[in-house]
Amino acid sequence: MAKVQVLGRRRHLDAVLERLYGTQRVELVDARADPELGLAPADGAAGHVERQAELEALAARLDAALELSGTPAEAHPQLVPDPVPGSVDVAALVATLDAAAPRLAELATRLDALADERALLPRYADPLEQLAPLIPELAGLDDDELRQIGLDTLALVLDTTGETLLTTLREELQALLGSRFELVWTRVGQDAIGCLLIFPHREIEHVHRLLGHEYVRHLPLPSAYEGLSLHGAIAAMRRRIEALPGEIEATHRELASAVGPHERDWRTALGGVRAEVEQLAAACGAGVTEHTFALVAWVPRPQLGRLRVELADPALGPVVVEELEFERRDARVPVLMHNARPARPFAFLTRFLDTPRASSVDPTGLMAIFLPLMFGVMVGDIVYGAVLLGASLYLRRRFSGRSPVVADLASVLVIGSVWAIAFGFVFGEALGNLGKDVFGDFSLWVYRGGADALEPLLLFALAIGAAHVLLGVLLGLWQARCDRDRHGLMDRGGTLLFLCGMFAIAAYAGGMLPDGSMTPAVAAMVVGLAVAMAAHGTLGIMMGPLELLGAVGNVLSYLRLAAVGLASVYLAIVANELATVGPLWLGIIVAAFFHTLNLALAAFSPLIQSLRLHYVEFFSKFFVGGGRDFRPFGARPHDAPQTP
């Protein structure tokens, strides 16, 4: 990434911004925020700010109106906004919005009311439905009939699970009305009690006053149901609850048809408005003198030449693109992950952990080499690999362009499956031991299901681990050297020495090194320990050995390559053994079930384990996260950063 200063004549500022917006090649930063540059804000900034605020309000109105149509922006064909500032006829746009606003507001209000009603009505109907059977004689009488016999009713909800409040209420009512009332109740939901109170109509004011003192929630019926009998009100509510979804759907359709005639124009205008807002904001961030302007931007270094060519246009006047110095370790430096085409599907796995800082090594390329290899070592079966290859090729084709993450994951699995087939030949496995039973032992190295396979497999896993962790430490060493980080340099250097010494001792113990190699190996371990301890200062006595133990643990952690692989092959063998018990048809079903289960595990578990080995054991040696994605000026917020 390069940091550049774009200088030009002040009167060409808008034209230059328009060009930069169209090329989507740079990320602009606020030039005035950099005290070293000492740039003054543009004079016209106040005007720009007002226009920006006006357009932002307009964009919010357009957004709200378009949201009512119910169709997401992605459902529409790409509408390319005109990036020329001022191209949107704001007055005409506001006029069409104002004309449509009353109808849209009315429909939106109706929709809200219907949604509220749908949420609230069951809260009335449910308790009443439970209370009605408790007073069968009165439930069929409406308000007028109740008053004719001098009675009144109140529905109440007590927000309590215990019955203490109910007892208190009954005592208070007894004190007020004597025996001239009836209180029936039932539990409503998990944390409330619904009550129905029947009392003399003439006492209604006293009862209301009492309930007010006792903080009881009175459940007044919606006006449409007042005056009906309890049964009548419940039936009317149920009918309404059934009718509401249809009414809501009809209102949605009305809204869609009200927005429909304007939708295309509004979406196009929204794009234009947003483009102008971004360009105004960029103009506000430019520094100016009496005759010149200065923009500060990030640009991917390989694109610097093309940027210079694009700005060397007579229509833009003389424009100078000058490279600025910057601190690589600064977290504000944007990151554009650029990898070779085969490694690109792995970039999302790196981002899954964190975006690397600009100063950090991007491990995506190495991940593209090691992750499928580890996946293949664990699966290591020709048939499983072939099935996974077919499935992942199908997924990649199906989701290409529709879901980039699934397509990338499928691409990762494609490479992993090829490795699984390759290691299937190395281990002589096809559906576990079935291949060996049918074709004889065709393994190129060692059959994994054999009794003598454990030792070589463990050593192989440890060898991969040692190579991977050492590579990580070397990258960490290089990273520390680039960052001029003395502490990191000593820490990684000490770890490297210690691990090399330890591996040399292991090799000596295995008879792979001559007699004289023991002394230098021990010396390397001791020096490595001392350097690692010195790197941590006063806490080094404790932290140094812990760090080195952690590094040894990291190498041992790769034993999972053998462990998961052995679990997979033994499950396959069990599936084949079970198939021989009982009749043939049952054996085929049982074997198919277990092999499918094993295949599902083989697709999932080795990928997770490989990822973990990368994230925890490998990345921890050098990776610096917390990076910020490069967002080109002119790209939509949901656009993925462009890869050149």
């Binding site: 899954f352 454990l454 463990l458 041992l556 034993l559 999972r560 994230y615």
Partner: protein, 74 residues
């Protein structure tokens, strides 16, 4: 008899380590789910944290393998 004890010891080494890993992962996993619900962008780190205790069971596997390889041959 000796072979049986070796097998039992190896099983215990893996089994107890797996139990400890499971206990640790249960707690970390519950917390990780909470974090992911609040901040989906932390999914990668959450998986990393959940995966860390797995080293315990791998070390258990290493001990079991040493049991079988070193004592089993004796």
């Amino acid at each position: 008899m000796q072979l049986g004890l070796i097998a039992l010891g190896s099983g215990l080494a893996v089994g107890l380590a797996a139990l400890a890993t499971g206990l640790a992962q249960a707690r970390i996993g519950a917390a990780a789910m909470g974090v992911i619900a609040e901040k989906p962008e932390m999914t990668g780190r959450a998986i990393l944290l959940v995966a860390i205790p797995e080293t315990l069971v791998i070390l258990g596997f290493a001990v079991a393998a040493m049991n079988i390889l070193l004592l089993g041959k004796g």
